[in-house]
């Protein structure tokens, strides 16, 4: 290495910025995105526990477990905050099953299939352990699904945290960890307030979502976005005024970053979920939503009120038979409208 040690500002800057928008009203928690990612990237030794793309039920402990209370990110003055590491169990564990025992001759009626934690114990937590639990009382319980991946933040604390200067933003805005420079010190895991960096105990290096950059370079959307069966996702450059991400984030302002108060300027944006209607004491459907607005504010900040108001207004417009560009965007009758120039075929 020469005397030209890059500054963090250099490592954090990019020419353009790719972004993902996810419409939470449409996500059905099917985990197709999770599996699409896992099949592509995390089947190597030491990656069994990793779900670079993942979906958890909100409110809930989330994935990795209790990531929202693990610290990291920045305070209001931009100072880095201490954070905590995740464990194997937090990251969803790596269950082993007694297939051999159950499937060997004569046992099928006597033995049942039992998962074991990587620790050898009976599991007490795992991926989506609290799926669909949510909150609220009958007859008005509520929950929604939260698909996540690395936010490829514009002010990425993982980059600031790496004492090896191994993490950097590519020209397209994708944040990657140089596996040759990483020495597995895991400061990035502590610094990422989204717990979206994972430690590989076999290679002893840290890994994270790479936004499928080898696909993106060939004009193919990341697998989580492309494989989404709910048509919840849009992808493209934020500065491309023709892209859906630009229109939803910048023009209509209905797609918001998760936990903007962490100060990292995420580039995954969420269209907040519209609420199912609540029942009154007599079991009659009311006009009120079940999802408390305070809960949504806890995830997306105060801007969620205006975003939802805009969506509902445009929906009403459409119900009246008037045109609505926003509703057309959110519906996306032609799927490839969602992915700007990234509509190439993966195979």
């Amino acid at each position: 290495m020469s005397s030209t040690i890059p500054t963090k500002q250099e490592l954090k800057s990019s020419k353009r910025q790719l972004a993902t928008v996810i419409d939470l009203s449409k996500c059905m928690g099917c985990q197709t995105c999770t599996v699409a990612c896992k099949n592509l990237w995390t089947q190597r030794p030491g990656t069994e526990h990793m779900r670079w793309a993942n979906v958890a039920t909100c409110p809930g402990k989330g994935y990795p477990r209790e990531w929202e209370s693990k610290g990291g990110g920045f305070d209001a003055e931009g100072r880095p905050q201490p954070g905590q590491l995740t464990t194997m169990v937090d990251c969803g564990d790596n269950f082993q099953f007694n297939h051999h025992e159950v499937l060997s001759a004569g046992n099928a009626q006597r033995k049942k299939l039992e998962p074991r934690s990587a620790s050898g114990e009976a599991p007490t937590w795992g991926y989506n352990w609290d799926e669909d639990q949510g909150k609220g009382e009958w007859p008005n319980p509520y929950f929604f699904y939260m698909p996540r991946k690395c936010n490829h933040c514009s002010n990425a604390p993982c980059i600031d945290a790496c004492s090896r200067n191994a993490i950097y933003k590519r020209e397209d805005g994708i944040v990657v960890i140089d596996q040759d420079r990483c020495e597995g010190h895991r400061h990035c895991i502590e610094a990422c307030p989204y717990s979206m960096v994972y430690f590989n105990p076999v290679s002893q290096k840290s890994e994270k979502c790479i936004d499928c950059f080898p696909r993106v370079e060939k004009g193919i959307a990341p697998a989580c976005n492309r494989q989404c069966v709910g048509r919840t996702r849009a992808y493209g450059y934020l500065d491309d005024s023709e892209s859906q991400v630009h229109k939803l984030v910048r023009v209509w302002k209905v797609a918001l970053p998760l936990h903007p108060e962490f100060g990292t300027e995420p580039n995954v944006f969420y269209v907040p979920p519209m609420s199912p209607l609540a029942y009154d004491d007599d079991g009659r459907l009311t006009e009120a939503g079940r999802l408390p607005i305070e809960v949504l504010e806890g995830y997306f900040g105060p801007a969620v009120r205006q975003a939802l108001a805009t969506i509902l207004e445009e929906r009403d417009r459409r119900k009246r038979g008037e045109p609505s560009e926003l509703m057309d965007l959110l519906i996306s009758r032609r799927w490839h409208d969602r992915f700007a120039e990234f509509t190439g075929e993966p195979i």
């Binding site: 880095p80 194997m88 945290a161 004492s163 610094a191």
Partner: protein, 216 residues
């Protein structure tokens, strides 16, 4: 100033942590301090927040050469043996000795662009040590032990680690600190306590370089 005693023992005998070659040797007691991580805030804001690192406060060193190789035997107390990364939040014990490549260098920053340092790094979970070259924060490079014929041998016993590093005084070509009988040298020490999540700059260090003289 510490003396590097000239001995007749073979390289092999000196690599034995408990070998007779090391009995009756003067021990140099080195006090350690927590590495000042705030200096490294520009390379790791997260590391600079660390407050409780540097748990090991003393290391005992015995130094010998036999005309061919320099051997450094270290002992330190460590109540918990951490020689495996058992979970994603676990770290292993480690130790290093560091020398200026030539002339002077700042041991706190691991040198700088003009003043490189050479270090020998042992980690409790690795079969071989690393030979490290660094030119300041964030620049260290781990080279395989074979590059300089560096060797290490460690033993955990009675609540402490005992470790021998050994390397030829004059390794082959490359950026390695070279030693000669009758000549002065300088050394610094670092210990990582795995159960205290110590890694990278979160470590205990000796601070300034300790002056050495290799017996003629």
């Amino acid at each position: 100033m510490a003396k590097v005693k000239r001995v007749a023992a073979t390289n092999q005998k000196l690599l034995e942590v408990d070998g007779a070659a090391w009995s009756g040797f003067d021990r140099v007691g080195i006090d350690l301090i927590p590495a000042p991580v705030t200096m490294a805030a520009s390379v790791s804001g997260q590391m600079a927040l660390s407050q409780n690192h540097g748990k090991v406060r003393r290391v005992e060193a015995r130094l010998a050469h036999n005309g061919q190789s320099l051997s450094v035997r270290l002992s330190w107390q460590d109540a918990q043996r951490d020689d495996q990364i058992g979970d994603l939040d676990r770290f292993v014990d480690g130790a290093a000795v560091m020398f200026p490549l030539q002339g002077d260098a700042n041991p706190f920053t691991m040198g700088d662009a003009q003043h490189p340092v050479n270090a020998w790094l042992w980690r409790a979970d690795q079969p071989e040590p690393f030979d490290v070259i660094a030119r300041g924060y964030s620049t260290s490079q781990r080279r395989p032990a074979s590059s300089s014929q560096l060797e290490a041998n460690a033993l955990y016993r009675d609540g402490g680690w005992h470790l021998v590093f050994q390397r030829p005084l004059q390794p082959g070509n490359g950026e390695f600190t070279r030693f000669a009988p009758g000549e002065p040298a300088r050394i610094a020490f670092a210990i990582w306590e795995g159960s205290n999540a110590e890694r990278a700059g979160q470590k205990a260090i000796s601070g300034a370089f300790v002056d050495l003289e290799l017996e003629a």
